[in-house]
């Protein structure tokens, strides 16, 4: 198999005295879909935020698309261009229109001509099925629409990897489906995805690999069929019992 596109090797991180990530080792191949789950506070967000250096790890190695994350601005910039991120709270720029949200990075970071950036942005808005909202401001859209714009924005630099941190947790139930549909579409096109979510139906349908975290450790890594039906670890079993129970 080819070299992994994301590689975490013995990663440790502390918040002050609090050991939040403990010996995290994870390899993600090109095109692989990884779904991360685990109890609240287990370090899921912290782990994926380390992958684009929103958090700094203190020991171990993180390599993304051949670039090792270290205290080197060039490396960090290179990685951030190759990795798109979608947040739980959308984080769209409220003072810019939907279209401007999508063209900001291509124009300012990649130096694309504004006209080309707009064409790319419109194509992405078609893909998330809201081209008619291009001229509106984020505050004028529903939560589901905002999250789809956020996905389009994360795609505008043509990333090799997409990170999702609970992208549907802040949504009203009737809007969860439209966002998961867009994500499934993305998965079907072969995007490499690392996704923190508790949408187990989505995980079962889309994931190649399930990762279960607890207390800062990766407790179990398994394909979804085995993960859901025959979890090896006692903690995984308890967690799944709780989550699927209701």
């Amino acid at each position: 198999m080819a070299a992994p596109i994301v590689e975490l090797c013995d990663v440790n991180k502390w918040f002050g005295a609090f050991h939040v990530l403990k010996d995290i080792t994870l390899e993600v191949a090109k095109g692989e879909k990884v779904v991360v789950c685990g109890p609240s506070g287990s370090g899921k967000s912290t782990m994926i935020r380390c992958i684009n250096r929103l958090e700094e790890h203190q020991s171990g190695r993180i390599v993304v698309d051949g670039v090792e994350l270290a205290d080197d601005i060039k490396a960090i910039d290179a990685v951030r261009r190759r990795v798109g991120m979608v947040f739980q709270s959308f984080n769209l720029f409220p003072h810019l229109t939907v279209l401007e949200n999508l063209t900001l990075a291509p124009v300012r970071v990649a130096g694309m001509a504004p006209r080309d950036a707009e064409a790319t942005a419109m194509a992405l808005l078609e893909r998330v099925r809201i081209p008619e909202q291009a001229g509106k401001f984020p505050g004028q859209l529903s939560g589901g629409q905002q999250q789809r714009v956020a996905i389009a924005r994360a795609l505008c630099l043509k990333p090799a990897v997409m990170l999702f941190d609970e992208p549907t947790s802040a949504l009203d139930p009737e809007m969860v489906g439209e966002v998961l549909d867009v994500m499934s579409g993305l998965a079907a096109e072969g995007m490499t995805m690392i996704c923190v979510t508790h949408e187990m139906g989505f995980a079962r349908a889309v994931a190649d690999t399930m990762v279960f975290m607890d207390e800062g450790r990766i407790v179990e890594i398994a394909p979804p069929a085995r993960f859901f039906d025959h979890p090896a670890n006692e903690r995984t079993k308890r967690f799944l019992g709780k989550i699927i129970g209701h």
Partner: protein, 331 residues
């Protein structure tokens, strides 16, 4: 007591009306008494009333004038010269204080410990010393500088001496585009450039440095009010810290910054009359001289009050308009 009367007096509307009429009557009576008293006193002392004095010859010189002025000109023109001096120092003060304040506000939040500490020390030191004292310090510093021959020359085109501050100026007479004119020292004199008097420079420095400290705090609060997720989203898109500040954070911080910024701008205008302490001929200083000569204090003060009121209202109006423009659109 009839039932009808009782019900009218029981109505809150009617009571409210009665109280309002009473308040107006008291205010009018007080005002009338004040005016009457003043008029009687002025008559007793043989002081003329009315604004006729504005057209008479002022008879005093003004050290700095943006429009031509001689002592033979009228009081109206003298006051206009003072007003222009107030406007110039306020306008330039507003621009410089905004720039300096923004830089300091950003610096206070800097990840660099030394930069952050320095900005904090600046803000704390400057905010807690009365502006009048600071003006005396700057004036003292500027007038204690060496003469023109030994002028300090810290940057090309910049001279500091006891004659004031000489800076490069724009020369518009050479055609369509202005030409930058760099001053130089020839013998005892500066040739070219623009000379700012020590009084003007001290007042401008004082107003700028003092108000910048308050603006820094406003800018800092505005930046802190922008959710952290905005910066994280921008970082994840690969924007640099400078771009994030310019394109994402500051535009959103403006919503929080503009209203208190307006009152700082008004403060610059309202603090500018401290000019009188160091001899810069602003509107208040000129009108003071006019009042001393004519004795027409009521009219002189009225002119100053009306001008400041108009200035404040115009500035507030402008800032309110701007605030509406930067407001976020939402459902």
């Amino acid at each position: 007591m009839t039932g009808g009367r009782a019900s009218i007096w029981g109505s809150t509307r009617f009571r409210g009306l009665v109280y309002q009429v009473l308040v107006v009557a008291v205010v009018v009576a007080l005002g009338g008494w004040l005016v009457h008293n003043t008029l009687v006193n002025l008559e007793v002392r043989g002081i003329a009333t009315g604004f006729g004095f504005l057209e008479r010859e002022a008879g005093f010189g003004i050290s700095e004038n943006l429009i031509s002025y001689t002592p033979a000109d009228s009081y109206a023109r003298a006051l206009t010269v003072g007003l222009l001096n107030t406007l110039v120092v306020s306008a330039i003060g507003i621009v410089l204080a905004t720039l300096l304040g923004t830089v300091l506000g950003v610096a206070r939040l800097s990840g660099n410990w030394l930069v952050g500490r320095l900005a904090s020390v600046y803000v704390e030191a400057v905010r807690n010393v009365p502006l009048l004292l600071q003006l005396f310090v700057w004036y003292g510093v500027l007038t204690a500088l060496p003469g023109a021959r030994q002028a300090l020359h810290p940057l090309p085109g910049l001279y500091l001496s006891n004659r004031g501050l000489v800076i490069p100026s724009l020369d518009w007479s050479q055609g369509w585009l202005p030409v930058l004119e760099i001053p130089s020292l020839v013998g005892f004199n500066f040739v070219g450039g623009l000379t700012l008097s020590p009084e003007f420079a001290a007042l401008l420095a004082g107003l700028t440095i003092y108000t910048a400290a308050f603006i820094a705090e406003i800018v800092r609060a505005g930046i802190l009010a922008v959710p952290k997720g905005q910066t994280e989203a921008a970082l994840s898109l690969g924007l640099s810290p400078g771009q994030i500040l310019r394109l994402v954070v500051l535009p959103q911080a403006l919503r929080v910054i503009v209203p208190p910024l307006t009152s700082q701008y008004l403060n610059i205008c309202k603090n500018s009359p401290l000019a009188i302490a160091i001899g810069y001929p602003d509107l208040v200083a000129v009108s003071n001289t006019a009042i001393n000569q004519t004795g027409q204090a009521v009219e002189g003060v009225t002119v100053v009050m009306v001008v400041f009121l108009a200035l404040s209202l115009a500035l507030s109006g402008l800032m309110n308009w701007y605030n509406k423009r930067v407001a976020l659109v939402s459902r």
